[in-house]
């Protein structure tokens, strides 16, 4: 806060500061406009046209969007990632919360080592993770299959059509559980210790503490991880794209909406339609994220 006296005495200094501030954010905004906004608007522009190998380019208005909304391949992909979201996100966030609470309780020896261990998969690039799991899932040479054969136990065919979504869910969970755990753990560390002391005086145990104090206190972080995970599920691309090379018949070019947009653009030369599909997916993500946020906020107010 500045007083009016200061303002009068040093207007040039104020202005200079303001200019400096804009200069500091300028690099970000230049890249933001060039690398995000311009391509975004260009993709939006493209989605209203249709270019063919024979017959050239024509303006078609909303045709591409109408086509996408009736496109079974696109809708099946959306349904698939929705199913993925409903199962994988609760499992992943539940595990992350459990680990964060256990770490925070201070009952672990080598806590920092455990924390690092759980976080480490996040440091492994998604591409490497998918390739590694692809090998682990292998039916002929994968360790699970070999162990199963040695013990005479049936091992599921991880890369078959029935198991594929669960297998991808496992990879994503393994990769991101540590990341979400760190966010929650950091929030837990920020809770003042006096609250715990007061609760313990009232005779609350560890579980009661976790349920009644810790989880409600870190609600904003939980919401943040939830929104990120929802967006991530709809954007599912890397893992299926890599498993596609191992299991090309199960993971087709339309397995997830993002993969479908990619296939349309780069393999089927239907760039305009791919732009429309991408835009629809973006709109869908915005709606879902907003609904998630709204529903949790309403609960906040009701409390």
């Amino acid at each position: 806060m500045t007083t009016t006296a200061e303002k009068a005495s040093a207007p040039t200094w104020r202005r200079r500061q303001r200019i400096a501030a804009y200069l500091f954010v300028a690099p970000f905004f230049v890249f933001f406009v060039l690398m995000l906004l311009v391509p975004l608007f260009y993709a939006g522009y493209l989605s209203f046209f249709r270019e063919q190998l024979i017959g050239g380019n024509a303006f078609v208005g909303l045709d591409n969007y109408v086509r996408a909304l009736q496109d079974e391949r696109f809708l099946r992909g959306v349904l698939r990632v929705t199913l993925f979201l409903l199962v994988q996100v609760p499992v992943m966030l539940g595990l992350a919360l459990l680990f964060a609470l256990v770490l925070d309780s201070g009952r672990l020896r080598f806590a920092s080592l455990v924390r690092l261990g759980i976080f480490l998969p996040y440091a492994i690039p998604g591409v490497i993770a998918a390739l590694m799991w692809g090998y682990l899932y292998g039916q002929d040479f994968g360790p699970f299959a070999q162990a199963g054969r040695a013990l005479g136990l049936p091992v599921p065919e991880f890369l078959s059509s029935g198991w594929m979504l669960a297998s991808i869910g496992n990879i994503v969970t393994w990769s991101f559980v540590g990341y979400n755990m760190i966010i929650m753990y950091a929030a837990l560390r920020a809770i003042p210790a006096e609250i715990y002391e007061a609760a313990r005086m009232d005779g609350a145990g560890e579980f009661r503490l976790a349920w009644s104090i810790k989880i409600p206190s870190i609600r904003p972080s939980l919401l943040l991880t939830l929104i990120f995970s929802v967006i991530g599920s709809f954007q599912l691309f890397t893992e299926p794209q890599l498993l596609k090379s191992i299991s090309p018949v199960v993971v087709t070019g339309e397995y997830t909406p993002n993969l479908y947009a990619f296939t349309l653009a780069f393999s089927r030369s239907e760039l305009n339609y791919a732009a429309a599909v991408s835009f629809l997916l973006g709109i869908l993500i915005m709606i879902v994220s907003y609904v998630v946020q709204l529903s949790t906020q309403r609960r906040e107010r009701q409390r």
Partner: protein
């Protein structure tokens, strides 16, 4: 990643192209009718061009420096920069982007035969007729030439080919008491014997994810599923009687679980080749050397033979893979570029090197009769002269096989139709119908007339 022509590329391109269009603000013109043939270039002009200091850029995934050195020894004025721009989908994205952007494209590029029509349609390749390319026609295997020359012009010089043969494991065949099958009927009987002798082994694998390899088998049987008039008309006959006959044959083996259906060029498939899960591989001529790198421990156990035949005594084969070297329309030095492509692939010494230094099966006929190639006794194949066998197979490949000017969606669609039916032991003939429908729908959506 192994060489370039070994997998059908699930290409990219359109996106990059559009991006390039956006950057350059030009509009893609899609292959207008054949331009008036340029006037032939005189020998004087050629000599002058070959003596003028020039630098050519050459995109090629194989290490062809020794062959380039031969060229530069003959034409010291011309310097060739060999660039390995990668292979598969990414490579074509790069190439198409550079073409559309109007800068950064090479003078000469390696292009797989099945992608030639799409580049011709986009009007990206120079017609080599004015530079006397027609004189090279007889230097190359006829079917390879048919992949680069259309009624409108000659758009590339063939580099290598992939005539199909059968590589098989003698130890597994002996154990099952079968000999290399002369006909497909014998092959089916042998399939039963191999699987009976060891339930973990199959006579061969048919890939649900490699349309190019499977199409080679249809090619051998005389099926010609595609044709393209170079303008706006395509014909798609993926469910023709010839196609269905072949599908019916494999249906029987797949249903009885006598052949495996693993995706190829995956870890699982490499393991299968190395550990005897597959007793044979219907392989192109570049396969023998590739196999040595993949299944080194099985040295000496393999032999090569001709593919089984549909009609006893009638020799026929198909082709999988192979590339041409094309001169880009944007090249500032088309004469030198055209002569370079001709020399690299057509000159006897250079073509022989293609077969000895890098494991390519040259398209040049003269190289295929050179003892340096044919006399090579391959230890991995128990001292068999494998290259010689493939040189005998090469002339039996049907010459009139054409591709559509958009093979990527066709290959993609294969995985979802025929490939899916292979994996799920569904109806293969029904899958051919579905594949046909998808490809026809795509062709129509892109504005082609489907005859």
């Amino acid at each position: 990643m192994h060489a370039f022509h070994r997998r059908p590329a699930a290409a990219l391109g359109a996106g990059a192209v559009a991006l390039a269009l956006m950057l350059t603000g030009c509009s893609g013109d899609s292959g207008d009718d054949s331009p008036a043939a340029a006037a032939p270039v005189s020998q004087e002009e050629i000599d002058k061009a070959m003596a003028t200091p020039t630098t050519l850029t050459f995109w090629e995934a194989n290490k062809l420096q020794p062959e380039i050195d031969l060229f530069q020894a003959k034409y010291p004025a011309i310097k060739v920069n060999l660039v390995d721009a990668g292979s598969g989908p990414d490579y074509y994205t790069k190439l198409r982007s550079a073409i559309k952007a109007g800068e950064g494209a090479p003078d000469v590029a390696q292009i797989e035969y099945h992608h030639m029509p799409s580049f011709i349609l986009e009007d990206s390749l120079a017609d080599l007729t004015p530079y006397g390319a027609a004189a090279s026609k007889d230097l190359f295997a006829p079917f390879a030439w048919s992949q680069v020359a259309t009624d409108n012009g000659i758009y590339g010089i063939p580099q290598d080919t992939g005539p199909l043969g059968l590589l098989y494991r003698t130890d597994i065949f002996d154990k099952a008491k079968v000999t290399p099958p002369a006909t497909w009927a014998d092959f089916a009987a042998a399939a039963a014997a191999v699987h009976q002798a060891d339930a973990g082994q199959y006579i061969t694998n048919i890939s649900p994810s490699n349309a190019s390899a499977t199409l080679g088998l249809f090619w051998q049987a005389g099926a010609r599923p595609f044709s393209y008039d170079g303008k706006e008309t395509v014909s798609v006959k993926l469910n023709s009687p010839e196609m269905k006959q072949v599908a019916q044959y494999w249906q029987d083996l797949v249903t009885k679980d006598l052949v495996s259906t693993d995706p190829d060029f995956t870890d699982q498939w490499f393991q299968g080749l190395a550990n005897g899960k597959y007793a044979s591989w219907t392989s192109a001529a570049w396969g023998p050397v590739f196999l040595q790198g993949t299944a080194a421990d099985t040295a000496g156990k393999w032999r090569a033979a001709e593919l089984p035949q549909w009609t006893a005594g009638v020799k026929a084969s198909g082709n999988v893979g192979g590339s041409a070297n094309a001169v880009l329309k944007s090249s500032k030095n088309p004469i030198a570029a055209a002569k370079f492509a001709e020399f690299l692939n057509g000159d006897h010494a250079s073509a022989v090197k293609l077969g000895t230094d890098v494991p390519l099966f040259p398209a040049a006929v003269s190289a295929l009769s050179d003892p340096a190639l044919t006399g090579n006794k391959n230890e991995f194949f128990g001292g068999q002269e494998v290259t010689k066998l493939f040189t005998e197979i090469s002339p039996t490949v049907g010459t009139d096989f054409q591709w559509l000017p958009f093979m990527d969606p066709v290959f993609e669609s294969y995985n979802q139709t025929f490939g899916k039916a292979l994996t799920e032991k569904g109806s293969l003939t029904g899958a051919l119908d579905a594949w046909q429908d998808e490809v026809v729908a795509y062709a129509k959506s892109q504005g082609f007339t489907v005859s």
